[in-house]
């Protein structure tokens, strides 16, 4: 009966509380980090420890939207499922009508418009997710975008969302070096190091997906992540030793 009443209305001092509460929901979600390199884009997520009897293939926080774009989210998983599904359909629809794969910006704009619409519709609440969208356009340029429950989106060189996002972002700001982004390994290491700051028990709880130019998304398996983590730990030890001498 009262489904025609808007849920997201302005407060007297100009706030949209539902949107802000949605952002709180995002802050409770597990951390996701994204780094854009020159020829590679990387998304890493904190894998929440799952119950022993649960099949961990069903908990995927990194989703491919098309062969050239993929996304990681922080916040309400069920909301993300809806958004990801719409985005996947739009990617194919775009290919059908325009005969070209989507650009990363296009699909980000599409997702953001959906999110914004839900902050202005009758009887609907905003989506409780922020997402990091990465990929390559068909001309080979890499991109990293972040969307928020409010429906805004921005391009980033590296960013983090979810729990302790601020800490991770500060880490990225401190350690992001433009020259390092030429090397694929350095990009991956930066993402892992950033996640290790906030993830308990190290490499076991990290899921990492990479995409190199002209290749499809690859999810690194535990062995490869362990290799990077060991390399990072060795580098840390070296740095400590140097400090002492």
């Amino acid at each position: 009966m009262s489904y025609d009443r808007a849920i997201t209305v302005f407060s007297p001092d100009g706030h949209l509380f539902q949107v802000e509460y949605a952002q709180e929901a995002v802050k409770k979600g597990s951390t996701a980090v994204g780094v854009r390199g020159k020829k590679i884009v990387v998304l890493g997520v904190e894998k929440k420890s799952i119950a022993k009897l649960q099949d961990d293939r069903t908990v995927r926080k990194i989703c491919a939207l098309d062969d050239n774009v993929f996304l990681a989210f922080a916040g309400l998983t069920a909301d993300a499922r809806v958004v990801v599904n719409r985005a996947r359909v739009e990617c194919q629809s775009h290919r059908l009508t325009v005969e070209d794969p989507v650009t990363v910006e296009y699909i980000t704009r599409f997702i953001s418009s959906i999110k914004q619409r839900y902050t202005q519709s009758n009887g609907r609440r905003p989506f409780g997710i922020s997402s990091l969208i990465v990929g390559f356009d068909f001309d080979g340029t890499p991109h990293l975008y972040q969307t928020e429950p409010s429906g805004t989106y921005h391009a980033w060189k590296a960013n983090a969302i979810g729990r302790s996002a601020k800490t991770v972002r500060e880490f990225l700001e401190k350690h992001y070096k433009e020259e390092d982004m030429e090397s694929d390994t350095e990009v991956i290491k930066l993402a892992i190091r950033a996640l290790l700051e906030v993830v308990q028990s190290g490499g076991k709880n990290i899921e990492l997906a990479i995409m190199k130019q002209d290749e499809s998304m690859k999810i690194l398996d535990q062995e490869e992540i362990k290799k990077y983590v060991t390399a990072i730990e060795n580098e840390k030890e070296e740095a400590e030793k140097k400090k002492k001498t």
Binding site: A64, L65, N85, C91, Q92, S93, L96
Partner: protein, 190 residues
């Protein structure tokens, strides 16, 4: 006047389609490709109402891609059949190689009648060539024998059909994917 043919072997499917795109009595294009790649190992051959064919095939193509994105693995071949009557006036052959089921060839017409068959054809040419296939087809054909059988069918078309089909695209699907074979250009009728 359009023609499609498919022949299934023990570990491959051979398919061919004519290359003419016509408008009434005029050949508008002689290098039309009537085969649509639905996935690495599935081909959709599509003839019928001009426009409907491409629109329908591309729509199916993109939907299969969407399935792959959603489900992280490709659609199995036998589910690639769209089984309700649509306004599209298209006749199809669906040919592919499945990991578990092996090679498969499916015949579908515009009323969505569906049949899995060891060999199949669409078009007026089918009336002439199905009997040749009945006579010479064996389930254990080698790839070369299948191509020879295909050539026999196409020679017959050239002999008896009032409209000449100048060339045919030929493709073979096996466990390694889709392979383009040489275009078949039948020599003029005697």
């Amino acid at each position: 006047m359009e023609y499609l043919i498919g022949i299934q072997g023990p570990d491959f499917v051979l398919v061919a389609a004519d290359n003419v795109a016509a408008s009434s009595i005029i050949q508008m294009k002689q290098d039309q490709d009537k085969m649509f790649k639905l996935s690495d190992k599935i081909l959709l051959l599509c003839v019928g109402e001009a426009g409907d064919t491409v629109q329908f095939a591309e729509y199916i193509q993109k939907n299969i891609q969407l399935y792959k994105m959603r489900n992280e693995h490709s659609l199995q071949q036998r589910y690639g059949n769209d089984l309700f009557p649509t306004p599209y006036h298209v006749n199809l052959l669906l040919a592919g190689f499945d990991e578990t089921d092996g090679p498969g060839l499916y015949f579908m017409d515009y009323l969505s009648a569906l049949a899995k068959a060891p060999f199949a054809a669409h078009g007026y040419g089918a009336y002439l060539t199905l009997s040749i296939l009945d006579r010479y087809y064996r389930p254990d054909l080698t790839r070369d024998e299948a191509v020879e059988l295909l050539k026999k069918c196409i020679e017959e078309l050239n002999k008896r059909l009032i409209i000449n089909l100048p060339s045919f695209s030929v493709r073979l699907i096996d466990k390694d994917g889709i392979h383009d074979l040489e275009k078949l250009v039948p020599v003029g009728a005697k």
